[in-house]
Amino acid sequence: MGKTLRVNVGDTTRFRVLSEDQISEILGAALEILEGVGVKVNDEEALKLLQKGGARTEGDDLVKIPSALVRRALQTAPGRIVLANRDGGRDLVLERNRIYFGTGSDCPFVIDPYTDERRQCLFDDVLRAARVADALGDIDFFMSLGLVSDVPRLTYDRHQFLAMAMGTRKPLIITCLDRNGLADQYEMACLIVGGERTFQANPYFALYAEPSSPLTHSKEAVGKLTFAAERGIPVVYTPGSSGGATAPATMAGILAQGLAETLSGLVISQLKSQGAPFIMGGVHTIMDMRMGIFSYGAPELSLLSASMTDISKELNLPVFSTAGCGDAKILDEQAASEASISLLLAGLSGANLIHDVGYLESGLLGSLDMLVLSDEVISATKRILRGVKVNEETLAVDVIANVGPGGHFVGEEHTRRHVREEHWLPTLMDRTNREGWEKGGAKTLGRRVRERVIDILEGYEPDPLDGQLLGELKTIVALADERYAEK
């Protein structure tokens, strides 16, 4: 794995969507929504925390949050969070402009790489996805990609976590049914890393939780949020609103409401435990007004993600972003285009955790093909992000003088010295001439991608979990199965 790329600094390519004035107007609108409109909080503990903290409650569950509370929460939240891999290595440093890419989670369907059949996701599919993610050089963290369906439904999240930890040593972002599901996964993670203190020093996973747009925090979401805050588990608190349906149709309105939703989560987390690690999110896009779907391939999704990232830098909060996903049904030309536009934009924006790589079918299908193609697109994206290095050596005036008009540069030492660093080389994109391409079987990108998927599945073995440890993890899962089977 290459070194972390920090963008929008030094020689790297600069990019931003929102001006400072625009950010301040959007933030003002979000604060007004919190103070004037309020949010629904369907959880007793959080309601009490908010009341005690100075928020005004109306009726059973409406909470109006004064902006002073938000300001205070922004001050106590850590501006940087580190996520560690299974062996404790501090791989992901979530700081301004440091970018990392990873999968999304919980798609109900997969395409079987051997039969091409679209079917429900099984335990082995999540294990496969984890192994592929582990093998890919530009995938930095792993979410389950699929939703495990061949296990008891009330404890599927523990099984899913087991598959994830078995398949990859990369840092994880997990999902859970509720607090109990989180508690079990936390216990499993502590067992893996060697205790609670080690987990807290080097968190092996972040938790994904989501409020429901518009402006509602469900009991489950808040329960997860406060459980995590208490234990120092980093939380990605990410509303997913669809413009024109669960949020206004306008981009600025989506951003203002989305920000209000994630910031109210921040307030709850900081009231529960000052300094609790909080990652702001927002998977915002439009609802397609003909199909009624939440579009994962819309250009607006990328525009909104990059905007949220601009805002996160102003707030000094790590940010969760979205790319490498689409509405296409298989890895076709549409999918490739959706992946390319979104990955480039998210990378340019300098977002920390860029997730959902591998999503197709508007989030219903986790695709290993899309994941593998995206890995290549990310690699190319990073070349663009590294930008243009300008100094005496790279300007190469003396080399140009040496070659002179009419000469060539192939024989220059300068060329040999710089070509590997300055030129990006593809591994999937085809640059052979037509004859070479035809000799190689005239394969489309889709076929080359699938062959890479199969190569990884058959030829790559991730570092295994220790046998005894695996047994203990399975015991925790089995105990959970028993507890729920009794009910």
């Binding site: 349906a245 007004m289 009624g292 939440f294």
Partner: protein, 218 residues
């Protein structure tokens, strides 16, 4: 056709809520029979809206406003129409299942149903199997429609079908399910009668189920 009925059609297709209601009132003042207002005004208007939507000429919010106009007009006509005619148009009890607070998809479906002339009883979100049973007993609908966005709450659709069976009201109704993770295979698995992959196919399915129910003489 009277020019007022024509105007009703136009206003509903354009999604002008107040204007539609005004036009209906005017038509009644002109002694145009309510039945005629419904059959020549409201229903053809919503059919036109449906086909414009299918052709991609208009979008979901446009349909929403037309449905609102239709609904507002129906509120005036309903007390004046023969009960048998109302029964013919069908009624539906709808809700998002227990454990899920997602509202928007179900609301869109409700609106489409209202737009098509169904009498819709919307039970809201997090509706328990028992609440569905009670609503079926209280409102005597022909269709029970359930929605969920979460894969984790899909099983509560099955639990609702079970509850309707246990309460002995299953045979009276047709059960329609929908939501992003739901498939036709899942509908069959839990013993539902129909499945809609989006609001408009849900409506088509509901109409077909209603016709089937009539065929069974219920």
């Amino acid at each position: 056709m009277s020019s007022t009925v024509e105007r009703i059609r136009r206003e509903i297709v354009s999604g002008h809520v107040e204007e539609s209601v005004e036009a209906v009132k005017e038509a009644l003042q002109q002694k145009i029979p309510p039945q005629e207002i419904l059959d020549d005004g409201l229903l053809p208007a919503m059919e036109r809206v449906g086909s414009l939507f299918q052709e991609g000429e208009i979008f979901i919010p446009d349909v929403f406003f037309s449905a609102k106009a239709m609904h507002g007009s129906m509120d005036i006509l309903r007390p004046l129409l023969a009960p048998s005619r109302l029964m013919e148009m069908g009624s539906v009890v709808i809700g998002t299942v227990l454990g899920d607070i997602h509202d928007i998809g179900k609301k869109l479906v409700s609106t489409m149903f209202e737009g098509a002339g169904f009498n819709v009883v919307d039970l809201g979100v997090e509706v328990s199997p028992e609440a569905f049973v009670q609503a079926v007993e209280a409102h005597q609908p022909q269709i029970v429609a359930m929605s969920t966005l979460l894969t984790t709450t899909m099983m509560n659709m099955g639990a609702t079908v079970e509850a309707l069976l246990k309460a002995g009201v299953r045979e009276r109704v047709k059960i329609l399910i929908g939501g992003a993770p739901v498939t036709r295979a899942f509908a069959e698995e839990i013993g539902a009668d129909g499945y809609g992959s989006n609001a408009s196919t849900g409506l088509e399915e509901a109409k077909a189920l209603l016709a089937a129910l009539k065929g069974e003489g219920k």
